[in-house]
Symmetry: C2
Subunit: 553 residues, 2 copies
């Protein structure tokens, strides 16, 4: 038995949760455990068999508790750590991932009477069927010049609390009426651990339009729908907790499911992307962290407020207290590569990759790397999952142009990887031209293992890529927050300096490619503008939705 | 031994030649033989190993003789037909497929000294690297208001004789100087059979800018390149022969390689698409035949001259004597489906198709058929091989828009099939609005076997599809021409009525899809216009070509 002090960070992702045990004095990650959600993402059916319309994505809240039960006790046991040595626990979550609950925190989908009602479940961040509600929210906000609109780059997203809640109200008013709180999963999990509802500033600011200590007004909400008038006061409003502070001590129930001692400090809830910043030493102005996985979230602090077109949001204290936290993002990145590789790589390459003993991603990357930049003649728009920044429109869709009969799967793969890098460049240029320039680009997330992707990003962004040291940045970030909540460090910045870390200049641009990618980016930007503003993609979406609805009926 | 009279038609396609033995009195096809060109299409290297730049497509002329040697004698033997019962032979060819030859018809690539010179070989129709030459030809013709320009829809193609010859002159002047004739393969094969050069009106008119008994003027050619001034007089000009007439009798050499009697009537050369019209009973005004295979050629006669934007050409006597023959086309159709199926269908569907015991085309068609029209949310531009009509631009390329992470291979397959049908609708609308309306749509070519494709065409064109009865339309058409050349019928129309045939109303539109496809066609048309006129595809092609050239150097 050693006498070290530890914290535990738990990162709740899209498909699984990951707990990591971290040494407080140096940030060393001692051990980690991953547990997949038993129900994964519900996109076609509820567990009871109820079918779901297109663009839905739900989860089952008890799956999150299963993560705690199936990771933390094993972590402790395997590491030979006494629960008393764990001084704090922190968590982070995908967002906006939101659910309707009763006063005591019981999810409505846990009630037998609502088990077959889609709207009673957790709406996962990538639930994309509230676009028409978001459109109305945005149109009215623009018309009535709501003070908060430009804090969100001029548009709020269909992924966020207000759009998802308006959809809930209008499509299943009974569930809406029954719910006492519309709660972020990030806060719900803290509630389960501590026994008390604690509302974090991060999701309140970025996902629930909480700005300058206010939510949208009753007048505004009433104009959206008279029944929505009291949404804030009845379903949302709750005292706000700052990041890095202690939400409370672990409850008896929290102790039972984790194996930790009741009373252990529990940090205020947080979002996976934002909590990665301290793990990546990105606590200074202009240090941008891109958490690149199925989607990409971008977070950056600056010490002043600026209005950036198409950013997801800027929130005071949203990343670290007393700074302005900026967020932007791309709704699909690794998802897009996976979709292509799983569906669109033909027999010849599959067999060659088997022969070479490589998975398809590696094999395609190797083929693509051998071809000169630009030689595939393609450019793509990375909108297979919509566009979060800078267009904030989930009805947009993917585009590939330039194919010939000589185009091979590795060419399209390369074009898709490049398209996401062009998307990132578009975001960086929006920050740069809005008075909050990007000084450092730090990559985190699952895609940092992919050297091909990282090199393409260095080439297309034409700047060095620094890489987070931890392979589990969000979980480490949560452990850092836990250390602060437990009083082991004075604040997040101090904890980050000791417990976080990056590899500087891990990738540098290959200079001979820079001009070619500038030319391709110019074409990308033209398509970005014309299809972002044009109506082709919206028309196609409408035709599709009508065809699918007619099929169901 | 029967006492019937027969003709033989030989169709020289892109990858193989096919000979068919036909009964003159009723058009019954007795037997047929296919022989693949030993060298196929040279796209990467010459037989000597010399590498070829992008967009080249060459052939070896002796391969055509191999077809004759390996089909006709077997046909006769298998059928127990005495050579004396064969009264005529007719041939048709892809076009513009063109080669440089000496005075006696010897191809320059057959000379040892030129065996490693790409420009000495046959340039296949789909040799697409003379676009810059075509651009200059068109720009100058527009500027100097050449009388022939609007006979070709306002643009001549990079596939045709003048563009390919200008490329030859400028890239390999020694070969240019050495050649005595720039001859269509359609005429070269007749030369081999009869021993005399006979120049057919069809390729002269459609591919060599022969209009109103004149070629382009010396003044015009000189302005393109001073060394090109005498191109017509020195390399092209030759007496013109009408379709259905007799080019001559089979020579001794022709008899040796075919096993037919010397003196047997040989019909004037012809083009595969145009010769299909009599096989499909399409000899009346407005009866359009679409020969749908790797690419699609569209031919139609009318009794008056009209100017159709983006048509390939209108030639008096180009299909039947004394009518105006219209031609239009799509550079890639079945090619595009094949490209997708061979490269972009992933493991899951491959295995399912194996399990179902179906080839991938059938399996994808079956999956696509089950989904409602429009439900894939996609629209594509069918330009993977450029656009022949109505844009006449081979630097254009493919585009797909509307993908989401739920998009499956069968969705893209459907979108590609639909895109070619939208391309056909665009061509038909151009005829309809130019005073030469399409009365009947008759499909011929390899794709008529594909019921899924045919039904989609009926739905998208919103008209009945009639199908040619013969599965080898061009070869039957050539046999019809042979019967006329042999004097068995008074003219092509009379022979067509007896020897040709169609199944009327083989496919009718599914009415519930018509409006949906109208909406998708509207989107297609917008993309058609914006990418046809815009510069994105041209910029990508330029970036690609520079990248590939830099790699070679």
């Amino acid at each position: 038995m050693n006498e070290q002090t530890y914290t535990i960070g738990v990162d709740f992702g899209t498909l699984s949760g990951r707990a990591v045990l971290v040494q407080v004095e140096n940030g060393h990650e001692i051990n980690s455990k991953v547990y997949e959600y038993p129900h994964g993402v519900l996109e076609n059916r509820l567990p009871t068999g109820e079918s779901l319309p297109p663009d839905w994505a739900l989860q089952v809240p008890n799956d999150y508790l299963e993560v705690l039960k199936n990771t933390i006790p094993v972590l402790l046991e395997e590491s030979g750590i006494d629960p008393g040595q764990v001084v704090g626990i922190g968590t982070d979550f995908t967002a906006c991932t939101v659910l309707p609950v009763l006063k005591d925190g019981t999810p409505l989908c846990n009630l037998k009477e609502f088990e077959n009602r889609p709207h009673a479940f957790v709406k996962l961040w990538k639930h994309h069927s509230a676009q028409s509600h978001a459109d109305r929210i945005n149109a009215l906000a623009l018309e009535s010049n709501e003070r908060w609109l430009d804090r969100y780059g001029g548009k709020i997203s269909s992924e966020w609390q207000f759009a998802k809640a308006l959809q809930l109200l209008e499509e299943d008013p009974e569930i809406y009426k029954k719910m006492d709180h519309w709660v972020e999963a990030a806060d719900w999990i803290i509630w389960q651990l501590t026994g008390a509802y604690s509302k974090n500033i991060c999701t309140a600011g970025y996902k629930a339009i909480f700005q300058d200590n206010m939510y949208p007004t009753k007048e505004y909400l009433e104009r959206l729908n008279p029944l929505f008038k009291n949404f804030v006061t009845e379903k949302v409003d709750w005292p706000i907790a700052q990041l890095g502070s202690k939400a409370g001590g672990l409850s008896k129930f929290g102790g039972e499911i984790t194996g930790l001692n009741p009373g252990t400090a529990v940090a205020v809830g947080n979002v996976d992307a934002h909590v990665t910043a301290p793990a990546a030493n990105a606590t200074k102005a202009g240090q941008l962290v891109a958490i690149m996985g199925t989607s990409t979230c971008v977070v950056m602090v600056h010490d002043h407020l600026a209005i950036v077109p198409g950013m997801c949001g800027v929130v005071e204290g949203g990343i670290t207290p007393s700074t302005w936290g900026y967020e932007a993002g791309q709704s699909g990145v690794g998802d897009i590569f996976g979709w292509f590789v799983n569906n669109f790589v033909g027999e010849e390459l599959i067999q060659k990759s088997h022969k070479a003993g490589q998975d398809l991603h590696s094999y395609l990357s190797e083929l693509a790397e051998k071809k000169p930049a630009g030689s595939h003649g393609l450019v793509a728009l990375d909108w297979e999952s919509g566009n979060r920044s800078t267009l904030v429109d989930h009805s947009l869709s993917g585009l590939i142009v330039g194919m010939t009969l000589a185009t091979k799967p590795e060419d399209v793969y390369a074009a898709l990887v490049e398209s996401t890098a062009f998307g990132m460049r578009t975001i960086i240029e929006a920050f740069d031209s809005s008075g909050v320039p990007v000084v450092d680009f730090i990559a985190a997330g699952g895609l940092i293992k992919n050297k091909y992707v990282m090199q393409i990003y260095a080439n297309i962004l034409n700047r060095p890529i620094h890489i987070i040291k931890s392979e589990q940045g969000p979980a480490l970030g949560s452990a850092i927050h836990a250390a602060v909540a437990a009083g082991e460090y004075s604040d997040i910045i101090a904890a980050s300096e000791i417990m976080g870390g990056i590899m500087r200049d891990a990738y540098l641009p290959q200079l001979e490619t820079v001009e070619i990618y500038n030319q391709l980016f110019h074409q990308y930007s033209k398509l970005y503008k014309s299809f972002g503003q044009g109506d082709v993609m919206h028309a196609l979406r409408k035709i599709r939705d009508i065809a699918l609805i007619e099929k169901v009926n």
